[in-house]
Amino acid sequence: MSTATTKVTPYVFVTPAMLLLIAFGVLPLAVALVVSFTDMDISGLANWGNVEFAGVDNYQRLFTDPDFWQAFGNTAFFVLIGVPSVVLVSLAVALLLARSNSRFYRALRSFYFIPAITGIVAIALVWGYLYNTQFGLFNWLLSLVGMPPVQWLSDPLLAKFSVAFVAIWRGTGLNIIIFLAALQGVPKEYTEAAALDGASSWRTTRSIVIPLLRFAIFFVTVTTMIAWLQFFDEPFVLTDGGPLGATTSMSIFLYKEGFRLNQFGYASAGSVVLFVVIALVTVLQLKLRRPDVEY
């Protein structure tokens, strides 16, 4: 009896999580894969009979659609700008915040976490006003020093940076907490030993602390990378993918094709492509990861 129970126990524990994962992760993905080979649109939604098998038409169309490639390029741009910024900024801030445990520093930790827990709509509203060309704070500040107004969200190139900046600002909060938690795990003995050897603060950070944070850095990089590949909220609420598609990420492209144009088959094909890209990037990262340093 006891051996049977022991064998079953772990499965009982993972079952709820597995069921949720299958119902809301694997199943939709499988449905998306099936739908991506059909011409499903809103009339097909009303009546199954209107749905027809379309083979790989959706994929062929996708790869010749300039809008898709623009969205693809924008996503690559956002990932290249966003991921290093988020990782470096949150690591730097976490290292600075970990230098003291005083009341002031503890308050600062909450302060940096606030963007992560603030609703995106509130953030969009506030940043929308900050960026506004006519009466935004940034342009008002520029006008004080005699600079002409800048079109933060209307210039196609600048809008990319403006939107990415908000996402970086919002994305660092959680990662700072992860790095702070990891910093707690750096044994005091190592830093003390380094201090006795006369290592400077910078040298200790570079040669002892950061190598020990390797796993945290890896984790943050992978999750941030996935989040930026699925970049959606900030451009959706700030620019709705504009101006002229300059901030349309893959996710926004899919949303527009699916929910605005009701082309579910086409959007599903895009979502499958996005899934494959994310899976490839993540697997590549896992493969390239070197084993942890042990001291």
Binding site: L45, A46, Y255, F259
Partner: protein
């Protein structure tokens, strides 16, 4: 970032759930025979609408449940309702969405019912919106409800200061005046073009005597009239007469005088009167400018339709009848500021006594509805704006951008 970012698979999830749900429900949840009649009203005028139908509720004994749907949430709401098979009984459909709703099979064909309801016949409504004019695939799926048109708003005081005595009557004059007004200084403009206004280039084409639909019903932008409209649209930007930032606020711009001319709907009069009563007498509305051929403006109202599987068709049609009566429509103008569609209401003397209304009513005579192209807003309309704005704002090569537009819209037809 993560919550929304599942959009990648969300499309499929909704589709899957929708399919599952549509299998179980057949009648439609909100349409039980003795329950209230469900009505979807767009925008935030739900409370006013309840007030409007109160006399009908009392008389007929049928309760009405009004659901206000925000304008920018319509597409998602439609998708959910079609997928789940449970919609309202009666719904308001903006003319630009009519084709999409009808294509989705969401609207009941009314042809067979109209004989029993003579008040809903096309001749009772302003020309060009009822009956065949707004039929989709040969079926009448809606009856006119409110009308809306575009007129020219001008800050007469600013125009006068700059030596312009009367609002421009033609696009050519408008372009010249806008240039003069933009010359007032840095950060001052003459005219405002909303970057999301896809009907504007179409209206310009109409006023040149052309159309964007050819004789066979295919979308066709490759015409001299449209070409002229492109000259005008991009020319206004090239002159520096139009603000280039996408977040420009038209009401603020008009009130502050930064952009003292623009084309907009009657709702702008209300915003101006509400937020800047001190401007009273310093602004006016006039007919939309003429192009090289004639005056033209946009007819952008809303129609009412019956949901395809409503079990309350007779009650719904009774309600539509009540709503299309001239008295009801004038009452609606009084409480909600939306213009009537009924010809008798439009000719009502008291209604026309307001000089602003006189202009709107005159303009409605020259107004046309956008061609019922499938998915105008997300498809052809969006492509049109992308092409024109990329020329005007990004300095894209004109021929390349237009050729891309021609190619993209080549196989689209209203049939």
């Amino acid at each position: 970032m993560k919550s929304y970012a599942k959009a990648a698979i969300a499309a499929a999830t909704v589709a899957a759930l929708g399919l599952a749900v549509s299998g179980c429900t057949s009648g439609g949840g909100a349409t039980a025979d003795d329950g209230p009649l469900t009505v979807w009203i767009m925008g935030d005028s739900g409370a006013n609408f309840e007030q409007l139908v109160a006399p009908w509720v009392e008389e007929s004994g049928t309760e009405v449940e009004v659901v206000a749907i925000p304008w920018d949430g319509i597409d998602e709401r439609l998708t959910t309702a079609v997928a789940s098979g449970s919609g309202p009984d009666v719904l308001q459909v903006g003319l630009s969405k009519l084709r999409t709703f009808a294509d989705a099979g969401a609207l009941l064909a009314l042809d067979d019912h109209l004989d029993d309801h003579p008040e809903l016949a096309a001749e009772n409504f302003a020309a060009g919106i009822a009956g065949e004019a707004s039929a989709v695939a040969g079926e009448i799926v809606s009856v006119p409800w409110v009308s809306d048109t575009r007129v020219l708003f001008t800050r007469t005081d600013i125009l006068a200061e700059n030596g312009i005595d009367a609002p421009p009557a033609t696009w050519e004059e408008l372009r010249a005046d806008a240039k003069t007004l933009a010359g007032r200084g840095e950060g001052q403009y003459g005219y405002y073009i909303p970057q999301w206004d896809s009907p504007l280039p179409v209206v310009m084409t109409w006023s040149n005597g052309g159309d964007i639909i050819d004789a066979d019903g295919n979308v066709d932008f490759d015409t001299p009239e449209f070409n002229e409209a492109v000259d005008l649209y991009t020319g206004l930007y090239a002159d520096g007469s139009v603000p280039t930032n996408g977040d420009f606020d038209q009401t603020q711009g008009f009130i502050s005088g930064v952009a003292p001319m623009l084309i907009s709907g009657p709702y702008l009069s209300k915003s101006i009167a509400d937020s800047a009563p001190e401007l009273e007498g310093k602004w006016n509305v006039s007919m939309a400018p003429e192009g090289s051929a004639s005056a033209a403006s946009l007819f952008a109202g809303s129609n009412l339709a019956v949901w395809h599987n409503s079990t309350r068709v007779d009650d719904s049609l009774d309600l539509l009848e009540y709503l299309s009566e001239p008295e009801t429509q004038l009452e609606w103008y009084a409480i909600n500021g939306e213009l009537p569609t009924n010809v008798d209401a439009l000719a009502d003397e008291e209604f026309l006594s307001d000089p602003l209304v006189q202009v709107y009513a005159d303009q409605l005579g020259d107004a046309r509805i956008l061609p019922l192209v499938p998915n105008w807003d997300g498809g052809v309309g969006a492509d049109l704006l992308t092409a024109l704005n990329s020329i005007a704002l990004n300095g894209e090569d004109r021929d390349t951008a237009l050729q891309a537009l021609f190619d993209k819209t080549a196989e689209i037809s209203i049939n």
